[in-house]
Amino acid sequence: MPFAASAERNVTNRRVVVTGTGMISALGTGTEKNWQAMLAGKSGIGLVTRFDPGKIDARIAGEVKDFVPEEFIDRREVRRMDLFAQYAMAAADMAVKESGIPIGLDTPNGYAPEKVGVIVGSGIGGISSLEEQHRKGLEKGFDRLSPFFIIQMIVNMAPGLISMRYNCKGPNWAPVSACATSAHAIGEAWKSIRLGETDAAIAGGAEASITPLGLGGFAVMKALSTRNDDPAGSSRPFDKERDGFVMGEGAGIIILEEMEAAKKRGANILAELVGYGANSDAYHVTQPAPEGEGAARCMRLALQTAGMRPEDVGYINAHGTSTEFNDANETKAIKTVFGDHARKLAVSSTKSMTGHMLGAAGGAEAVVSVQVLTRNVLPPTINQTTPDPTCDLDYVPNHARDAKVDAVMSNSFGFGGTNAVLLFKRFK
């Protein structure tokens, strides 16, 4: 049965708006580059170039190709940061610049630094630094490790570094929940502002785990596509010929502000974040619960917190990983929650173009969700050639589509059975 929204609203109703976005993926550095590539239905996937995959059966990934860290970070600082933290810093920089968020009471309508949080996570963190330093330890001894190793590896260094740059003295932490990480980050930042703990936040996630351990680890789980002879066609969510996900990397970070404060400072409000659901399948380490039961509950939670009905949602940016299990179960979950409306709304997976950015996916897809609301175009799911009877919704196949929708849902589900769903609305 479709879910009917509860008339009751939470006690604290401060509204939260999005005022800036920053995104880095295999499609490029910057929200605009990513959006244009998505409208063109471009794949960012190619053969792995960063290292020799050797005997790993998956030899393809969505590597970021155009990132120049020194454009965002002091050269000296770059050396002290793992790549994932560099992506986080750069995406935060782009988001802060786009929003023009004033931090500091000495600036007009500035936020008190103590009321600005940074919640930025990563699924895995500084794994390339870990691999490099382990190798160094074996070769030269574990007393010869870099003194920067630990700060490169730990996940919360990303929000830590961001707070130092922008003087954000509010809550500062890093969720780690696999592929739901950055959706959790954004949802928890939303909660924090809604409850009055903070007035603004920098939230999202970053990932840079296309390394021998990362690629090899997912490959031996048989989670990855092995369509090595057709990299651009390898990530094909919902298509019958899909054979696993493709690793991506990068970052997605947004700026959230309490609505009244944002209006007061004359911010350019891009969208409103109106709902957030977080829950667990409590079922299996990697497989979704049958029928997508946990995912369905989570989508309902997001609707409930927003006080919205399923019919209000016009587009879902799906988790859509291109694995057999996810795509079929997510489709079932959408049907469970949306009933007849599931046939009317549009669903697409931008992972078909970026690859699966893991801990950065929810953040990047939040950036995409906001673009859908501001630009009135739905990004496609590319590589739709062979319909799968278990995946029979409107996935915006192969071509972007003009459409004005008022609410966008973004799904993120992670290994460990963890789920996070965000709900964005056109700002009025």
């Binding site: 050269r75 000296r76 050396r79 002290r80 003194p147 920067f148 700060i151």
Partner: protein
């Protein structure tokens, strides 16, 4: 290769090059009297890394209690000149 043949001028130029690389400063800013922390902006972790890099470059061992006394570029150069094998 024995390090005993290294000219003090070579030591100075190599030390400056390591510092320039690790601290991201121009070699012309690095003077013998430059303090790592006050003039070159190093923190305690940078100093650990610099000491390790110098140990590897010049095949000397710089014990922690000696490293604590190395405050300036000149201190580092002097230490290496007097302790290199």
């Amino acid at each position: 290769m024995s390090t005993s043949t290294i000219d003090p001028k070579v030591v100075e130029s190599k030390v400056k090059s390591i510092i320039a690389d690790q601290l991201g400063v121009g070699e012309d800013e690095i003077k013998p009297e430059s303090s790592f922390i006050e003039d070159l902006g190093a923190d305690s972790l940078d100093i650990v890394e610099l000491v390790m890099a110098m140990e590897e470059e010049f095949e000397v061992e710089i014990p922690d209690e000696e490293a604590e006394n190395i405050k300036t570029v000149g201190d580092a150069i002097n230490y290496i000149n007097t302790h290199k094998k």
